[in-house]
């Protein structure tokens, strides 16, 4: 029962299998906690790391993403009742992005489900879910196990990511389509005295760009990192931290728990829960597949129409509208909502934000006013800045879907 003997009061945060490599390359010593691990916030420069994602290829350690193995004769029935999407459409080799809710139709979390084989799935989540999954598994013959530490994960994202993997000897990777996964091999490298390394690769990611996620055994993590850094040495490949990734994910219009919504499992105040319909994820909710947790409440909400909606904003000026309150008019008399995530987009050259607004201001083209505070050498100024509701994603290059991807 009691396996861990290290004194975690001295080191509360774990190290991922990539940690030693990351630490060696971290120039700023800028680490942040993520799901019980210490991970890199910035290696050298947020801007340079960001452009690795949009210009070349980036390596991002996503080992802390929480992973569960879901297996057994009732695995599909269990998942289909739990998730809002139709899991019956998920066949071996496929990945689905989905959300799950409580009985009130409030969002618990979002994540990806990998179908590994009939009756065998992997669920990757932003936050820990064993407690929720276990309660949801009553009556199903299903095995639930957290495998976060057993699987190292590395995101390889950017327009040259396919080329990079091919150069590292991952044969056939160019045929992998979006939301597919498969077993591959990092070819042996006699020069580096390295045997072939088995890896699972999925064409998934959090950047909205061409990209892959590599899943491997922890003991192979450093070999995979070294191989990719070596072949990428002359091709502008960089390891990136969470700050750079956050810019890319806002451009891609992806939501983040604790930033754009709080899981209904964690809310203390009533009314701070969010439904998938409010978050613009209605496309993930399949009312025709039969019963699932939260269906009745979501049907009712759909009939009534959500009271507020998460939208994309194009904000005038260049100052990101972090945490800004939004108003319907410049006078600031009536509140329209608030910004949940904001960034200047170096690729779009636009000032972007995700915001939760009243349904009445949510139509594309609607105008709201953002209350932005400017710090001019410690002199604070308040600006009402015009913002327009625009389509999400803000940035969606066709290369993200191209199969085979461009070979550079």
């Amino acid at each position: 029962m009691l396996t861990e003997s290290e004194p975690h009061y001295r080191q509360p945060l774990r190290k991922t299998p990539f940690h030693e490599r990351a630490r060696a390359l971290s120039q700023l010593d800028s680490f942040i906690p993520w799901s019980g691990y210490t991970t890199v916030d910035v290696f050298t420069s947020v801007e340079q790391e960001y452009f690795a994602i949009r210009n070349a290829a980036s390596l991002y350690d996503l080992t802390p993403m929480v992973k569960y193995r879901v297996a057994g004769p009732d695995a599909l029935r269990f998942l289909n009742r739990l998730m809002t999407r139709d899991m019956r459409k998920l066949t071996p080799g496929k990945v689905a992005y989905t959300v799950w809710c409580n009985d009130e139709g409030h969002l618990i979390d979002d994540g990806t489900v990998f179908c590994l084989a009939p009756h065998e799935y992997r669920v990757c989540t932003a936050e820990w879910q064993l407690d929720w999954f276990r309660a949801s598994a009553i009556g199903f013959d299903v095995e639930l196990r957290e495998i976060t530490e057993e699987v190292a994960a590395l995101a390889v994202q950017g327009p040259t990511s396919c080329r990079l993997l091919r150069l590292a000897g991952v044969a056939g990777i160019e045929r992998l389509k979006p939301f597919e996964h498969g077993g591959f091999e990092l070819a042996a490298d006699p020069a580096a005295a390295r045997a072939a390394v088995p890896i699972m690769v999925s064409r998934t990611g959090f950047t909205g760009d061409l990209g892959y996620e590599l899943w491997m055994q922890p003991q192979d993590a450093e070999a995979v990192w070294d191989a990719l850094m070596e072949v990428g040495r002359t091709r502008a490949v960089r390891p990136i931290g969470s700050r750079a990734l956050n810019i890319a994910r806002i451009e891609a219009g992806f939501i983040l728990p604790k930033a754009d919504f709080v899981s209904a499992e964690h809310t203390l105040y009533l009314g701070t829960e969010r439904s998938p319909l409010e978050l613009g994820l209605a496309w993930l909710v399949d009312f025709h597949k039969g019963h699932f947790t939260g269906r009745r409440a979501l049907l009712e909400e759909q009939r009534r129409g959500p009271r507020r909606l998460l939208v994309g904003l194009d904000v005038e000026g260049t100052k990101p509208a972090h945490n800004a309150l939004l108003y319907t008019e410049r006078s600031g008399r009536r509140e329209a909502g608030s910004v949940t995530s904001a960034t200047w987009s170096p690729t779009c050259k636009r000032n972007l934000a995700l915001a939760l607004v009243d349904a009445s201001c949510s139509a594309t083209g609607s105008e709201v006013w953002a209350d932005i505070y400017l710090n001019r050498e410690l002199v604070w100024e308040r600006r009402m800045v015009r913002a327009r509701v625009v389509e999400r994603p803000f940035f969606a290059p066709t290369r993200r879907r191209a199969t085979p991807p461009a070979d550079y």
């Binding site: 029962m1 009691l2 396996t3 861990e4 004194p7 975690h8 009061y9 001295r10 509360p12 945060l13 774990r14 906690p33 019980g36 009130e104 820990w128 879910q129 064993l130 407690d131 276990r134 957290e146 499992e265 964690h266 203390l268 009533l270």
Partner: protein, 531 residues
């Protein structure tokens, strides 16, 4: 001392008596506090019973004392400092342990060591406790409404309560209602699978309470210990620098600064009543002191059964007072140590010893400890809440020496085998010391002095009936508008000019100060000094 000088007399200088006195003095009343003992503080005292050592003789940690009171009465200016402690632990009979850390990631890993599921369930548990606290907190510094009254104020307060309850949302309303009546064990079973996790958390459900973890109502007692906070951290507990007497010393200083007077060694024999009105008190010495307002900080039993002549009180009221549940179930050891005891179960350097340490590792063990109490003997394997504040507080002992506070549950007020005697008290103390020594090989050798207190001693020295630390059980039948007596929950006695301000009144025990503050409010309203 002349007789017409005082606007109000407070009987008993416990923390609630002093809080009430402070607010009355600040409102401009001439207040006199009368204390039976030679020192103030009631059950929040720091005394030196062994050369160079200061003990927190009764209450020993602080969390519930309302921030509004600390600020409002300027207690920090009068010397009060509360320092949160770092962790805690339960040492197991197997030599293993469960540590409690304030760092969330370390805590998670520690819980996952015992059960990965429980590590996650703990977050849900904390969330639900915080949700319940959010419901209860606004009710603490309010006079509970009388649901049978049609006075505008009662109706207004009932509406507040109803609206407040309604704001919880349907699902949480059900949860809150269930919570008030559940047993702690049933409640913890809904979250956790690991025995050790449940055993550690259950401690707060039985402290000061003549209930076991499987008794209905014990879940609320746990919450009662969760609703305090330190600097915004809800549920956090800490040490008062200099021991718990620092709380009442600061209150006494605040009172004096506001013009109030305290007389120690002035035991009150009777509250004087003339024409259905309290008119003052008479001391044991025979001295009479009059005042138009008399406030009793004594528990409701002692107040009405021993301090007011029965002919002045309604018969049924007295009968209800007699039935008020105020059972003694706790003992206390205060130990002077020649050095820091070793606890082999705890890794070197762990902050776990700088918080509350327990040695009951299953719910079953705690329940068995309660069984002993029911049979009229002290627990053979007791629950102890053991702290060594001198690891943090440098003011209580000489350098290198330590003070250990050991709260013991359960210890009966009345032994089945006969009256408490010095020999039986010593045997009780030995049982506790032996239980601790099983987890600390050098503990016994370090003991320089031990103060052993049975419920009988607590009653004799502090004045709490049966030695009940809460001035009455914190069960749902004795909470809110039923505390202490239905119809008399608004701090007013059935006599004009007489009030209650002790922990027998809403919202109950713990060094919270809320009963004292609410009582002062009621008095000032009656005097027309509040709108």
């Amino acid at each position: 001392m002349g007789s017409k000088q005082h606007d109000a007399i407070v009987v008993g200088a416990g923390h609630n008596g002093l809080v009430a006195a402070c607010y009355l003095a600040r409102a401009g009343l001439k207040v006199l506090v009368l204390e039976r003992n030679a020192y103030v503080g009631g059950a929040a005292v720091s005394r030196s019973l062994y050369e160079g050592f200061t003990y927190s003789n009764c209450s020993y940690v602080c969390s519930l004392l309302r921030t509004e009171i600390i600020r409002g009465l300027e207690l920090p200016r009068h010397g009060l400092q509360i320092i949160p402690y770092e962790g805690g632990c339960t040492m197991m009979r197997t030599g293993e342990h469960l540590a409690i850390y304030d760092n969330h990631d370390a805590m998670r890993r520690e819980l996952a060591r015992h059960s990965r599921h429980d590590a996650e369930a703990y977050d849900r548990y904390v969330r639900d406790m915080l949700r319940h606290c959010r419901f209860i907190k606004p009710l603490l510094l309010r006079e509970p409404p009388d649901p049978t009254s049609f006075k505008p104020r009662d109706i207004r307060e009932l509406l507040f309560l109803g609206r407040h309850f309604g704001k919880l949302g349907e699902a949480r309303m059900y949860d809150t209602l269930r919570f008030f009546t559940m047993s702690c064990a049933d409640m913890l079973d809904e979250y956790f699978e690991s025995e050790i996790v449940k055993a550690h958390l259950a401690g707060s459900s039985i402290i000061g309470t003549a209930l076991g973890p499987r008794s209905p109502g014990s879940a609320y007692v746990l919450l009662h210990h969760y609703m305090g906070s330190i600097d915004g951290a809800v549920g956090a507990w800490g040490f008062a620098r200099g021991g718990m007497g620092a709380v009442t010393q600061a209150l006494a200083a605040s009172l004096t600064a506001s013009g109030g007077t305290i007389r120690a060694s002035a035991p009150v024999a009777q509250i004087l009543v003339r024409h259905g009105r309290a008119t003052g008190v008479v001391l044991d010495s025979g001295e009479e002191i009059s005042a138009p307002v008399v406030v009793s900080n004594l528990d409701v039993r002692r107040t009405f059964l021993e301090t007011v002549a029965p002919e002045h009180l309604p018969g049924e009221f007295l009968e209800q007072v007699r039935r008020f549940k105020i059972r003694g179930s706790s003992g206390k050891l205060n130990i002077a140590l020649d050095g820091l005891p070793q606890f082999p179960a705890i890794p070197q350097g762990s902050p776990s010893t700088r918080g509350d340490m327990h040695i009951t590792d299953t719910l079953e063990m705690v329940e068995r400890a309660y069984d002993d109490w029911k049979e009229g003997r002290w627990s053979r394997a007791p629950y102890v809440d053991m702290l060594i504040p001198t690891q943090i507080d440098p003011t209580m002992t000489p350098d290198g020496k330590h003070y250990m506070s050991v709260f013991v549950q359960y210890c009966p007020y009345q032994l089945a085998e006969g009256e408490w005697t010095p020999a039986r008290r010593q045997a009780f103390g030995d049982t506790v010391i032996d239980a601790i020594a099983r987890h600390s090989p050098n503990f016994k050798d370090l003991i320089l002095h031990a103060e052993i207190r049975t419920p009988r001693d607590i009653e004799n020295e502090v004045g709490l009936t049966e030695g009940n630390i809460f001035q009455g059980e914190l069960t749902f039948d004795q909470l809110l508008f039923n505390r202490p007596i239905p119809g008399y929950a608004q701090y007013r006695a059935p006599l004009k000019g007489m009030y209650m301000c002790g922990s027998s009144t809403h919202p109950g025990g713990g060094v919270m100060g809320a009963p004292g503050a609410n009582a002062a409010n009621a008095i000032l309203r009656d005097l027309g000094r509040l709108q």
